[in-house]
């Protein structure tokens, strides 16, 4: 498999709904792992996912998934699973029938379809409710049965549009663990979510979107280091933080050093994190400082969101 055939590629893709912009001039090349699409409502996340899976067609540009397009659905949808945001189901079916019928469209035998149905239902912990009609399910159960349907055929690309919506905390934790496990298995897991701190925990890559444009993309730490206009914030928990602060002030790259109210640490804002870490090592050794922890304080999706898109991200959601 060539590198191109192991990626999801958008080449100069634009989508307009009449005069309304969906996404504009998107160029992406997504590797395996968990990729999060982050952005406010109307930023183009769902449009991007629908383009990826052929539910809509680009006005301009090309999309291919692992070298395949939806024009060859037999191969494409054997490799791709998409859990959409549409909370709707065929009338009168049970959770089990819903998954079983969709598997039968893959042309597999009855026995295999039954086996995969049971497996998918077990993976989302819906065993007890599977024989009940979906019309009687709670929102969280409907979300989980859709997730089961999208993973039942063992896709290598899993596209999930707001998959944590409506889930209770237990189900959220289980789903997050499932996405992480799938990402580690080498799958492409593409997730859109407005719950930033959850996305932050599970993402290998992030794509930040705003008003139909990709604002930033890549590994979270890499994207963060590219945001030069916002100095990195680093929290240092240590003894004698006032001494550390006084030594730091001599440096050009240190913009601010703020002592913590409990007197056991300081928050540093620096233009050059690498130089800061070198300097901190020297200070620790020279002055015999006891360091409890050093950690980036704004090296996450939430901060990136605030810096690049602005507003709304502080509460953990967009």
């Amino acid at each position: 498999m060539t590198a191109e055939n192991n990626r999801i590629v958008f080449e100069n893709v634009s989508k307009f709904y009449g005069d309304v912009l969906g996404v504009n001039r998107v160029n992406l090349s997504l590797p395996p792992g968990v990729t999060s699409l982050v952005g406010p409502n109307g930023s183009g996340k769902t449009t991007l996912m629908n383009l990826m899976t052929g539910l809509i067609k680009p006005t301009q540009g090309r999309v291919n998934v692992l070298g395949l397009t939806p024009n060859h659905p037999e191969e494409f949808f054997r490799r791709v699973g998409y859990c959409t945001q549409f909370d709707s189901f065929p009338k009168g079916v049970t959770g089990y029938e819903f998954i079983y019928q969709s598997l039968k469209l893959h042309g597999i035998s009855n026995n295999e379809a039954h086996r995969l149905t049971k497996e998918a239902i077990d993976r989302v912990n819906m065993g007890e409710a599977a024989s009940r009609r979906i019309a009687g399910y709670s929102k969280g159960m409907r979300q989980r049965i859709r997730l089961a349907q999208s993973i039942a055929h063992h896709p290598t690309v899993l596209v999930l549009d707001e998959p944590l919506n409506g889930l209770d905390p237990m189900a959220r934790a289980e789903s997050i663990a499932l996405f992480q496990a799938l990402g580690k298995d080498g799958l492409h897991v593409i997730i859109s979510s407005h719950v930033l701190h959850e996305v932050d925990k599970i993402s290998d890559q992030v794509v930040l979107m705003s008003y139909g444009y990709v604002v930033a993309e890549g590994q979270i730490h890499g994207v963060r280091s590219e945001v030069k206009e916002h100095p990195m914030q680093i929290l240092v928990r240590c003894s004698r933080p006032n001494l550390v602060a006084s030594r730091l002030f001599n440096q050009d790259h240190v913009v601010e050093a703020k002592l913590q109210s409990d007197g056991n640490g300081l928050l540093v804002r620096t233009q050059n994190a690498d130089q800061f870490y070198l300097l901190l090592n020297r200070i620790v050794l020279d002055d015999n400082i006891a360091v409890e922890a050093v950690a980036p304080a704004d090296d996450d999706v939430n901060s990136l969101y605030q810096y690049l898109i602005g507003g709304g991200g502080s509460g953990g959601t967009v």
Binding site: I56, E74, F76, P90, K91, L105, H106
Partner: protein
């Protein structure tokens, strides 16, 4: 030459086994849904109304009477009620809902996200609609035929089993299937094109009813044009009913059947082209 070579390559390399399995699975689930959904109840009523009315009416009459009158009654009921009204309305109800229903209920994306070619989706849904409407209306036509001739006593039974009766029945059932095929192809195309099919359906109804008044070329774009040629009994009509029975240019059955099939195939090809272009944007609907 290139076309020939690529066609041959396609027939050799196409995953026929997968397509057959997918089509079978789709038809099974669609037929089940078509037969059991609440919207189908009125189609059963439309199809079986003559059976119910005849049962009540014939119960008050003594058996016997002229076989010729019964043949005319059956022919008139079939042409004026089943062909012009019942099958038209039944197909409108079933076929327009095949795609439009999934768009309204926001479930079409499940098909579009499956490894099923969209052309096969059209074909599968069309065949499931065919199975549903054909069976429902064949049941109605058979019941009507059976009641009319069994009430004819010994002469009726003789007509059915020793005369042309079974031939007539086969022709009526065959025309019923052809009518479902013709109207079904039109309405499945509608379900991919038009949000509210009522007004176009009225236009088609008028077109079909008065097709004989159209120029010769345009008549060939009417389903009724072909169906009338296949009916076993010509029905002389007077007064109001004459409007529905204006004689069109006669065409032999060996031309009528392929003509209708070609017309339907053309409409289905258009539906396949349309479904390939279709995007999921339920909000617009």
């Amino acid at each position: 030459m290139n076309v020939m070579a690529s066609s041959r390559k396609f027939f050799h390399e196409a995953p026929w086994q997968l397509w057959t399995a997918q089509l079978t699975s789709l038809i099974q689930s669609e037929v089940k849904r078509n037969f059991l959904k609440r919207r189908s109840i009125w189609i059963y009523l439309v199809a079986l109304a003559p059976v119910v009315i005849l049962t009540i009416a014939l119960a008050q009459e003594p058996p016997g009477g002229s076989i010729q009158d019964r043949t005319q009654l059956m022919g008139a009921l079939f042409q004026f009620y089943y062909l012009h009204v019942a099958i038209f309305i039944g197909c409108l109800g079933i076929f327009t809902w095949l795609f439009r229903g999934e768009i309204v209920e926001k479930t079409l994306h499940y098909h579009f996200l499956s490894p099923l070619r969209r052309e096969l989706l059209v074909l599968g849904k069309f065949l499931s609609g065919m199975v549903t409407t054909s069976l429902i209306f064949m049941l109605g036509v058979f019941g009507t035929f059976f009641l009319i001739y069994t009430h004819g006593g010994a002469a009726g039974r003789d007509f059915m089993f020793n005369g042309p009766g079974l031939g007539h029945l086969a022709a009526y059932l065959g025309v019923t299937v052809m009518a479902c095929l013709g109207y079904g192809s039109i309405f499945i195309a509608f379900s991919l094109l038009i949000r509210n099919p009522i007004i176009p359906a009225v236009v088609v109804f008028l077109w079909e009813t008065f097709h004989a008044a159209l120029p010769s070329l345009l008549q060939k774009f009417s389903i009724m044009f072909y169906l009338k040629q296949l009916c076993p009994v010509p029905v002389p009509a007077e007064d109001f009913l004459a409007l529905f029975a204006v004689g069109s240019e006669p065409v032999p059955p060996w031309l009528a059947v392929p003509g209708l099939l070609i017309l339907c195939a053309g409409i289905l090809v258009f539906a396949c082209w349309r479904v390939r272009k279709l995007e999921i944007s339920y909000l617009a609907d």
